[in-house]
């Protein structure tokens, strides 16, 4: 882009709200001081009082509005275009959900309101628990965890409580080498050691390796199914048998639940504990990095340890049960991310059982179709990592592209930005070289999938002519490639004031 033709966004120097501050400007108008004006010292002795106020910005309301509005336009978003970020289930976020979450009876309900006066909320939670139980095939649900990895932590803590109640002190948790980073990180936070289980040539758990590592010191196996390769683990029953044989629990990382709703259930596969990412399968908007919600469902034997309070039916009404002596306790304040529950329950109400099943079926259909299209149009440079039918997502390898065209997966990703697409997840899972992990979700049209595949092919063709174009991409974004190394080396993580 020449200087004459750069976009207004590129022309504009990024300016923070602090840099827009001018002394004396303001948005807020305070309510009148309607109480007697006693000397401040009488209320709060000077030694408690702050001398130098925080240097918050001083900006008028129109300018604050414009500032954040403009900033918003420096984001790519799901409502603008295809966002096939693998493992993230970027499905459509229905606007209905925002409407019902905003009802004052939800949005202004105080968490300490007496349960007798929060019956609508408790009922909603109870019904949501029931739905998640049915979907997962596990009888008991706690909605408390705040996100997927918080659910994982709950799972590990439940596992610990379960073993300790039996007088056992185990030290290891198994996870396949393809597992998501939160799995091993959670294991450590839960006070266990992670033991990696190998993946075989088909992308499945290596059963021999599992048998080797499944000892009596193993507390749990954490598994994503379909795996982060987008592949359903056909040996799941055998895996469950092996794990249960040594007395360990089997944990289901529910990030990929969107593949299987209504077709098969973790509980039926033998999992003891499941977490849900309501912000993935149940379409809570991701918000640029949260909020989420990570409810867990568990089997009977794990139930006694569930966090408290639990929402329970109480005659005609609903209540909060704090009297759970074996509970692991609280994982956070109050009753969990209720606002997320409202949205996800609205989703379940809208789709019903059939709709959820068809959502999963279409997610899998879309993924396989896109895999087929990309194989047809770009398979030479971007082969599928494991040449099988996939579930809701699949992984390509950019290694041949790198070899033949001198384009890294990163370059392809950046060039896709100029075509108006969010790139897939890149460089994960680690077992695939130059990985591209693509999850289209069920809410995309065939035309969108076709157009994306064609864009990838067009970029490869362009690179065959001139690889520099992609290597220097993107061009049209508000900023171009950023120097991450410099940022980490000398971190500037707040505005100097």
């Amino acid at each position: 882009m020449t200087v004459a033709t750069q976009t207004p966004q590129q022309r504009e120097h990024a300016t923070t709200i602090f840099e827009r501050s001018v002394e004396g400007r303001r948005a807020f108008v305070a309510p009148a001081l309607d109480v007697p004006q006693r000397p401040l010292d009488d209320l709060l002795p000077a030694r408690f009082r702050r001398a130098h106020p925080p240097r918050l910005p001083e900006v008028s309301e129109p300018e604050i509005n414009r500032h954040y509005n403009r900033l918003s336009k420096r984001n790519f978003d799901l409502d603008t275009g295809f966002y096939p970020l693998g493992s993230c289930t970027m499905k459509h976020n229905p606007k209905l959900h925002e409407r019902v979450a905003a009802l004052p009876g939800h949005a202004r309900l105080h968490p300490m309101q007496d349960p007798r006066r929060a019956q609508g909320a408790l009922r909603l939670m109870w019904e949501l628990q029931g739905a998640l139980s049915e979907i997962s095939g596990l009888p008991h649900v706690s909605l408390q965890p705040s996100a997927g990895s918080h659910g994982e932590l709950a799972g590990v803590l439940l596992t610990r409580a379960y073993h300790e109640a039996r007088g056992e002190h185990r030290h290891q948790v198994l996870a396949p080498e393809t597992s998501h980073g939160t799995n091993p990180a959670t294991v450590t936070m839960g006070g266990y050691e992670t033991v990696k289980v190998a993946v075989d040539g088909d992308g499945n758990v290596d059963l021999d390796d599992l048998r080797l590592k499944a000892t009596e010191d193993v507390a749990c196996l954490m598994l994503t199914n379909p795996s982060t390769l987008g592949l359903f683990e056909p040996n799941i029953s055998e895996i469950a048998r092996i794990v249960h044989a040594v007395g360990a629990t089997l944990y289901y990382d529910g990030a990929n639940l969107n593949a299987i709703m209504g077709r098969t259930r973790p509980g039926d596969m033998g999992f003891d504990i499941v977490h849900f990412n309501l912000h993935k399968s149940f379409t809570q908007p991701h918000g640029g990095g949260g909020p989420g919600s990570g409810p867990i469902a568990v089997s009977e034997r794990i139930e006694p340890y569930l966090p408290k309070p639990q929402v329970v039916r109480d005659g005609d009404g609903f209540g909060l049960d704090f009297d759970r002596p074996q509970s692991i306790g609280r994982l956070r304040g109050f009753q969990g991310n209720f606002g997320v529950f409202v949205r996800s329950y609205a989703y379940i109400l809208s789709l019903g059982g059939d709709g959820l099943t068809e959502a999963s079926e279409t997610a899998v259909l879309n993924a396989n179709y896109l895999q087929a299209r990309l194989t047809a149009l770009a398979g030479e440079h971007l082969p599928v990592a494991y040449d099988r039918l996939c579930m809701h997502e699949f992984v390509l390898s950019g290694a041949p592209m790198k070899q033949a065209l001198g384009l890294r997966t990163l370059d392809l990703a950046k060039r896709l930005l100029d075509f108006g697409y969010h790139p897939p997840t890149v460089y994960f899972p680690l077992v695939v070289e130059e990985a591209l992990m693509i999850e289209p979700t069920e809410t995309e049209t065939r035309e969108t999938l076709d157009a994306f595949a064609e864009a990838v092919a067009a970029i490869l063709a362009e690179a065959a002519e001139d690889p520099q174009i992609a290597r220097n991409a993107p061009y049209s974004t508000p900023v171009r490639r950023l120097d991450e190394a410099a940022a980490a080396k000398r971190p500037v993580i707040r505005q100097p004031l």
Partner: protein, 460 residues
């Protein structure tokens, strides 16, 4: 067809052809026969949008929200006014729908917000570094404990009984696998007992936890308490949970050499939402930067020299470091932190002070009014800034019910969490509770206590 999908029968046929299979069932061939559900999910049939709306509106109407009564509930979340500007901006799909900003070139909006947010939290707490949010208040405190544990490897946590009970419980739950113990320090006249704190500390202590103000609304004397924790040869970390709405009037954690400040961000422009989602904030001294949990945005430049922002110091994080990560957190509370950022911009430097002072004055007025009632006395004499506790000379549960009947929710009964304060009530003030409403509270509460005492007298 499911609700938000597009595939028609014709699409499906063409797509299956392209894949090379005959049916959708074939796509699920890897699912072993015996694991296939083989029946519809036992859930109600899907409903049209208008029916979902009607159903959930009906459920919502069964809650008594802060719009339906004059509410003095607080105890960790507060009915502050959320300006329309906040709702408007966070409902923009560009903020609402993206994932965590993994592609910075098309995520400058979110990343810059994080940078601004970090700056604001740093300013409020007086601490140099802040992350971009954690889940919420109590788990933020547990996250700080994990940082302490990683930092000094010690095995004991010492927590003031003034710390929010949910935070104390969350700490105990979360640390179950760390080989640590949690000791509590008692309160004396509403604040942390300095002597007891001194006695509780030893070289095995990883961290001390205080709350400012504490759960009873009392302002802790950090000037006196901080040295007890820190003036040692091998000091533990001092971790303070602060209410972010009070830091215009109260001296910030940074003034006392606090190591980590955490707290519940809900008061800053977030809805009550029956307790979530909101956000937790996490600020610390420079020394802990590379041990912080969560995302951190940093400034840098692009290939053309333009200023830009990226997620930085990612080598702390789970997706890079896996089992060696400083935390397992992944999805956090970006949108809620954005609400806080807009809200603080909206209040602005002066508004933030004015609001703090308004709360201080109204809280004082309310405490005076209530403590002046027959059968009501202040639970402690410490300064208060936005919330206070009173003791009733009547059964609190019955008194509260009487107030409900008059359209007033007088506050949170402390007895569940503090059996030692059996008939005590925690009363919170916000800028939405006018003097007239406080006067109504005084009238209604006074009458309720009198009525209960009288009926107790009658029964006695």
């Amino acid at each position: 067809m499911s609700r938000y999908t597009s595939a028609t029968d014709a699409d499906r046929r063409a797509m299956l052809d392209a894949i090379g299979v005959a049916s959708v069932d074939d796509l699920f061939a890897d699912v072993p026969e015996e694991l296939r559900l083989g029946r519809p999910l036992d859930l109600p049939a899907g409903k049209p949008e208008q029916e979902v709306t009607a159903y959930l509106r009906d459920l919502a109407a069964r809650n008594v929200s802060a719009e339906d009564e004059i509410s003095f509930l607080g105890a960790g979340m507060y009915d502050h006014y959320v300006p329309a500007l906040v709702d408007s901006i966070v409902s923009r799909s560009e903020f609402l729908t993206p994932y965590t900003p993994y592609q910075p070139e098309v995520s400058q909006g979110g990343l810059q917000v994080m940078f601004e947010y970090q700056t604001m939290i740093s300013e409020l707490t007086g601490l140099p570094v802040s992350n971009a949010s954690v889940y919420e208040g109590p788990s933020a405190l547990a996250a700080a404990a994990y940082l302490a544990r990683l930092h000094n490897g010690r095995t004991r946590f010492v927590v003031s009984r003034g710390v929010h009970p949910h935070s104390r419980e969350t700490l105990i739950t979360t640390s179950a696998g760390w080989g640590t113990t949690v000791d509590e320090v008692a309160l004396a006249d509403g604040v942390t007992d300095a002597d007891a704190l001194r006695d509780a500390i030893g070289d095995d202590v990883a961290a001390i936890f205080l709350a400012q103000p504490n759960f009873l609304g009392a302002v802790e004397d950090l000037e006196a308490l901080a040295p007890i924790a820190k003036n040692r040869s091998h000091p533990p970390l001092l971790i303070v949970q602060v209410d972010p709405m009070t830091l215009g009037v109260l001296r910030p954690p940074g003034d006392f050499g606090v190591d980590v400040a955490v707290g519940e961000g809900q008061p800053l422009g977030n809805r009550l939402d029956y307790g979530g989602p909101s956000f937790g904030f996490f600020a610390a001294q420079e020394a802990y930067l590379r041990r912080m949990p969560g995302r951190i945005a940093g400034e840098t430049t692009d290939a053309d020299g333009r200023r830009g922002f990226v997620l930085t110091l990612q080598t702390r994080e789970q997706h890079i470091r896996r089992e060696k990560a400083t935390s397992n957190i992944c999805t956090a509370q970006a949108l809620n932190a954005l609400m806080g950022t807009i809200y603080l911009s909206w209040l602005g430097r002066r508004g933030y002070l004015e609001l703090g002072e308004l709360l201080l004055r109204r809280t004082d007025y309310a405490r005076e009014r209530l403590a002046g009632l027959d059968g009501v006395e202040a639970l402690h004499d410490q300064p208060v800034v936005r919330e206070f506790a009173v003791r009733l000379a009547a059964p609190v549960g019955r008194v509260v019910e009487r107030c409900w009947a008059q359209g007033v929710n007088p506050g949170y009964p402390l007895g569940r969490d503090y059996p030692e304060y059996e008939n005590a009530l925690l009363v919170a003030i916000t800028e939405q509770r006018s003097r007239a409403e406080i006067d109504t509270l005084a009238d209604v509460l006074g009458a309720a206590v009198a009525a209960e005492r009288q009926s107790a007298g009658v029964t006695a």
